[in-house]
Amino acid sequence: MKATEVVGWLIPVVFLGLAAALLSGRQTPDIPVAPLRDVDRSLFEARPWREAKTRPVYAVAGLEMHCSSCHRLFDSREFVSASRLAQHTEIVHDHIPGNRCFDCHDNESRDRLRLITGELLEFSESERLCAQCHGPLYRDWQRGTHGKRFGSWMEANGERLSCLQCHDPHSPAFGQMSLLPGPRTLRMGEQPSESRRTEGAHSPLLRGAERAAEAEGEGAQDDHANRKED
């Protein structure tokens, strides 16, 4: 028998074997699929981060009281350190150290805010108060490069958030935040909770770099280490 003839017979035999295997075996490959995981949708609703106080009112026993309603009766000492507040205990004061109530609030008329120049502001104009110290940020906010715009990217239609819709004036820094779960895509399966950076086994971004490093041997890894030090 010639070699070509052997090959000639082998081809249909192989095909028939394949056909038999395909017809009898499982048709869909066993792909590991992570089970469905639900994430709380309320966590990423489009809304202001916090509610800004735009009117000088305070809720007491379900009633809205103007600030001055109480403060007309109860006088406060000037230059009270905010950390020793007996009232308004919900206020955590963590702005700059040494910051006093009357740097921003007006002691005479508690329904107003007060600029360093002595000019009185409504609660709804608090941006100007912030701008006294945070000039560059205020400029960025005016340009739209700081802060957040909702709804529409067209200038006329969007809603731009004011300073206090994100920042608490008494404690303005963004602190630690909860986070939502990371990727668990098809071939990644269940991920260990701790960071895998040290092993780097599960980052597809890392894999390529590591493979290259392995291929080039120790020398490449040394280069990599040197580059990091640079």
């Binding site: 990423f44 490069t145 709804g151 990217w153 971004l205």
Partner: protein
Amino acid sequence: MRLSILTGKSDTCACSSGDSSRTSCGSTPARPGMSRRSFLRRGAGVTGGMVALAAALSPLRHWDEDERFTLDAFLQRHYKEMTPEEMAHVLARIRDSVKRRHGVDARIEDVRPMDGVEYVYALNLSRCNGNRRCVHACVEENNQSRSPEMQYIRVLQIPNGTTGIDEANHHYDPESVPVEGHYYLPVQCHQCANPPCVKVCPVEATWQEPDGITVIDYDWCIGCRYCEAACPYWARRFNFVKPTYATNDDGSARLNPNMSYLSNRPRPKGVMEKCTYCLHRTRKGQMPACLEACPTGARKFGNVLDPNSEVSQILRTKNVFVLKEEVGTLPRFFYYFDTRTPGADRPAAELALEGAT
């Protein structure tokens, strides 16, 4: 023995003896017609061929029962070649399919780009704290598969002082973010002006629209995944299996009913998908879902052709960079820090004047 199909020689020889007579037989063809041997050979060949064909078609036995095969769908033309009537017809068919398969009354449209608009994304790395709200808002908005889970946005956690993405980890899972000593860099489709994914597509199932958004016709994609390999930002995702969605209490799938042909309609198994800057929202003037969900204000989106838009302001006044600039993809996705460019406060005209002198 000889297999006529393979050797290409005549097999009409009617030799009665076996291999010994092969040479004489081959050289002197006898009467035409079909001998018993050649009949058997051909028969075996044909039977084998039929079985092989059946085997090759056997995956069709597991054809998705819900996905009815229609001539209509089979003959559907490429997105760019469809007439408005054809598109209306196709949208109606998709709407019916979504209703039948997922129990959702979808409003499915073909949203076209606006004139004079080119979308650009800017992301403030000084503000991003890696909370991943954008990732999950995107999943909800764009009807991505929940099992297996598909996410368009990949948030990288990178140690301070390093710029290389080889240091990055996107499986970070601390108690709260940000983690001390790290910064966060979210990556999604950069809607490149010079997109390598579009170049490699062998069937032109993906292309760049006039407003800069690179889109995919899911009904035209053949699932070769060349684009996934070509993308330097790992922005494309492939449906290896049939997408599965969360269900509502009434048994219907939890899908966003505002759909468009080129973005968030349910995708079949075996096609690519990716971020489209939420074109079904943004082409109507809305913000992308990831931006709406961001609590830190790190995400900025807008029309770069409008000199007063937020993104134009950022490009003018901030220190902006793009990822992997050296690969020449010209992304429409910019990263910036809150540090300021000297002279950025001054009017552009003044700077131009200075440059001229």
